[in-house]
Symmetry: C2
Subunit: 344 residues, 2 copies
Amino acid sequence: MKKAPTIRDVAAAAGVSVSVVSRVLNPDSGPVASAKRQEVVRVIDELGYRPRAAARELSGGHALTIGLVVTDLSNPFFARLADRIVWEARSHGVQVVLMTTQEDPHLEADSLDTLLDRSVSGVIATPTGGNVEKWARLQDLGVNVVFVDRTIEELGDADVVSIENFDSAQRSTEYLIGLGHTRIALVTGPRSTSTGRARISGYTAAHESASLAVDPLLIRDVPFRGDAGGDAVGSLLAMPQPPTALIVGNTAQVQSSVRRLVQTGVRIPDDLSVIVFDDNPWTELMSPPLSVIRQPLDMLAVHALELVLGRMQGKFPEGPRLIEVKADFLPRNSCAPLAHAPAR
Amino acid sequence: MKKAPTIRDVAAAAGVSVSVVSRVLNPDSGPVASAKRQEVVRVIDELGYRPRAAARELSGGHALTIGLVVTDLSNPFFARLADRIVWEARSHGVQVVLMTTQEDPHLEADSLDTLLDRSVSGVIATPTGGNVEKWARLQDLGVNVVFVDRTIEELGDADVVSIENFDSAQRSTEYLIGLGHTRIALVTGPRSTSTGRARISGYTAAHESASLAVDPLLIRDVPFRGDAGGDAVGSLLAMPQPPTALIVGNTAQVQSSVRRLVQTGVRIPDDLSVIVFDDNPWTELMSPPLSVIRQPLDMLAVHALELVLGRMQGKFPEGPRLIEVKADFLPRNSCAPLAHAPAR
DNA sequence: ACCCGAAGTGGAACCGGTTCCACTTTTGTA
DNA sequence: TACAAAAGTGGAACCGGTTCCACTTCGGGT
């Protein structure tokens, strides 16, 4: 178990002072004669020297690290988002510290404290909705916060990257209305979240422009965790006048909902047309393949990182930025025109 | 944008020296009179003081951080593994820096360097197979390395946590043989990986104990990345005497393989019985639901973390540890007895 | 030949913790 | 009561970088 060389070792071996080595390490931090620069570079290479990140952070005041705070990685949406963000970050020489919240504000609060300890210079997060003051404090201490997918409205000056939730919900609803459906159920996220509200609005707007009444019983806002989606689906199917179409707009609950559909043996699309908000390739492999609203994860990740890095370099003007990216609607075989004399 | 308080601020406010505060922060590092301890705790709370991680690392020499190096998070296997590890780590107050390798040894090498810079005290990884000296150097510098799922044999003293690959492959092969199949195809990982080899051995052993010859053409060792699984499946189905059963033992290629099966419209299980090594809940939702070897991710994660943390505290004796956990075989409807007069 | 500014260099303080050590105050025991 | 051992405390060095500043050495303009 050897010991790694330090900047002073390098300086000694190259016959220069630590200042010079430091300047070689950080171009633009001062002049270095090119002969010495070469020698230093040679010695660095020879010794296999690498600057200790902790020391840099300590004197620099902040780390080349960002925090990524998501609900949990077993949700493919977040997993793929994380994948893209880590990838994108690496290409900018930034490391990612990962924390999961399990949708629990306490755990989230904890994570934020930890990230503060680590002096991260930015955080990309899908907030639970709580901890408003904590988020504010974070920003107050100079941490750049970017929310992805959801947001916290109370927080004035946070950047947000999300898909066009209103639009996506509206479009998919319109599509189903176009197929003749009038009883369209919507399973979506809690009304306490920006995402949940926007999707309900889109759904409602589509009804209104088709002069269709909205049956509030067909809208189910369910939590992100647990089996809530499946239960909602079960209860919808058990209604005296069940829906003929279903939109699952709670990404986290798609799997649970689909499982229930499969288990109850509802015929898709004959008995029920289905559209889900999901990004999971498996939706395509089911029979029938499910129609989906596909979230452009790459775009979300790229924009989120761009924002957080841009802020770190003070690139953008003061105000908060809201970036909405378009989500693709991929109609597949899980939707059919409404049969005039339904089998049931 | 305020500035966070330091240990000296706390010391001043509590009317004690920094040493005392430090001792309060780190119990067991020295005695503190309980009156002063209380006062210090009060001040810490009042000021919202939190020790800077970077400073600790710098003087302590190592960080309460581990590196997690996986191929990519879009693979649900790694995503869920990462999820469990992050979760498990948090409960021990350890942070996780995440790096992905895309199965590329260069990126892996890069990641290792970065983790070294960060003075992580441990690394949990699914190695690509290359970078043997680099891994050795890491250990040499006192970083505890634990491999999950795969291993690098050349590396003498690394801990390994994996599933019983040989056994799992053997069991699933035996199951198919028991159903009367004699031409069983195996799509698995590269022979350069421990996993790939073990699964082939298990597959072979099952054949031998049933006195069945192994047709080498039915064994396809394909890379983890890309569409190799799908291509292998395509080529298997195109054989003059195609297999009547298929085991997809390359977790990363399950999706690609299944996609190909669905696309070509092979009837499962009538034309082909299928078993896949996978952990994805979607396998259950397909029609027919796929028989799977389910990797007990929780166990892998828990053991890996236990090992790495245990090493950090010098808990275990010197030698490397190999932990193999049992993988469940879940027979579902994608396997059927061999029809005596096949339809094709 | 002379002076001024820019380039190049090294010394030393600093970032915020931990830890060793010397010193003072208790405490316990003979 | 006396004195050694234990408890409690603060000062200062240290971890490994960055950065400010003072200093030397050039080169160029007049």
